[in-house]
Symmetry: C2
């Protein structure tokens, strides 16, 4: 209701008296709930943490394919679209790694507020980093998934040849070699990619998140 | 076709022989075309440039409401969700303003690749900044809209009180007061918010972009 005593009325009169023809639109931006309704899905950030070579991106890619085929809109965030894009001015110092994760979390938040399910694949080796990501995105929308494989196993896989380079000293501060990985203590889900096949790993995550993203 | 001479076959064998159970999934990420198909829309970045107070956010909010009601998924990016979020560690030096626009363009690119229509509202005062944004997002997905109102008009509106502060020297390098705004020379569309009402302004942008975002 608009009456002469309301702030809204006062504001409109002030604007009109100011002689311009731009009136502020009091509508809010389209919010998360409205976007989820449009997409017929609930949004969520699935934060996959684990060593290089543990299978984060492999699981996420399979997961994205399954979700897409079931009509879900997803956004995968990993080194391939972050380190070469928005974070191409960051290195691997402790400060830059923290800033890397901070920006990724802020981007995830934008996507989650847009109704989208994000699949984040980053080593994010410390509990502090993961806590920061959770704080930025919001605990209610944050699912931490520990993609677990031992250093020995990841080093044996060494798909990208990074462990070899780290051992030879060509890469410094490489997580699992000369920089620590702190196992999650409060992950919602742990997926051991040594014990499980890719398909089983994908299915484990899918089974866990489906009830949380289905629109009722 | 997979045969023993193919690279694919060789790669799989190598991986299997390496004794791990992570096989690279050769599927690509879900691409822009697939996401546009899911959303039944074509994605685009609508880049609104103009002085503070020219009406960028007002037009974009109205535009977003219209688009949402027509079933389009949009993401508005403006100071309210960027400067307080991902770019909260940037100031207003020339370097920081450029970095501000660079990051925004990279985020827009992620959204556009996710099939989404972004509505970007940033003063982005120089042609160089807007060119950079276009280069990052890609010219094919970039629509520059000049939200035009004179400095005198914007200063008269001064909804946020920023011009008054700039005149009093409380804000330095304020575009239109002591920092230049370079009028676009190659905008796809110009919307003069002095001559047009809000509704007319919104309609002008809507009429222009609708044929470009409708899914055939």
């Amino acid at each position: 209701m608009m009456n002469e005593s309301s702030y809204f009325y006062y504001f409109c009169e002030t604007m009109k008296n100011a002689g311009n023809n731009i009136f502020p639109i009091f509508d809010e931006l389209i919010n998360k709930t409205e976007k989820e309704q449009l997409l017929k899905q609930k949004s969520l950030a699935v934060w996959m943490t684990g060593l290089s070579g543990s299978g984060k991106s492999t699981v996420a890619k399979g997961l994205e394919r399954h979700l897409h085929e079931h009509g879900f809109l997803t956004q995968m965030l990993d080194g391939d679209n972050i380190r070469v894009g928005i974070n191409n001015n960051l290195g691997f110092s402790e400060e830059d790694r923290t800033e890397n994760i901070r920006r990724i979390a802020e981007i995830s938040k934008l996507f989650v507020n847009c109704g989208i399910i994000t699949l984040n694949c980053f080593v994010s080796p410390t509990r502090e980093m993961r806590e920061m990501a959770k704080d930025i995105i919001g605990a209610d929308n944050f699912i931490e998934v520990f993609i677990n494989a031992s250093v020995a196993e990841c080093e044996k896989r060494d798909v990208k040849g990074l462990y070899a380079k780290a051992r030879q000293g060509e890469i410094k501060n490489f997580t699992g070699v000369d920089s620590p990985f702190e196992d999650p203590t409060s992950a919602a889900l742990e997926v051991n990619t040594v014990e499980l096949s890719i398909d089983e790993s994908i299915k484990k995550v899918l089974d866990y998140i489906l009830p949380k993203i289905e629109y009722n």
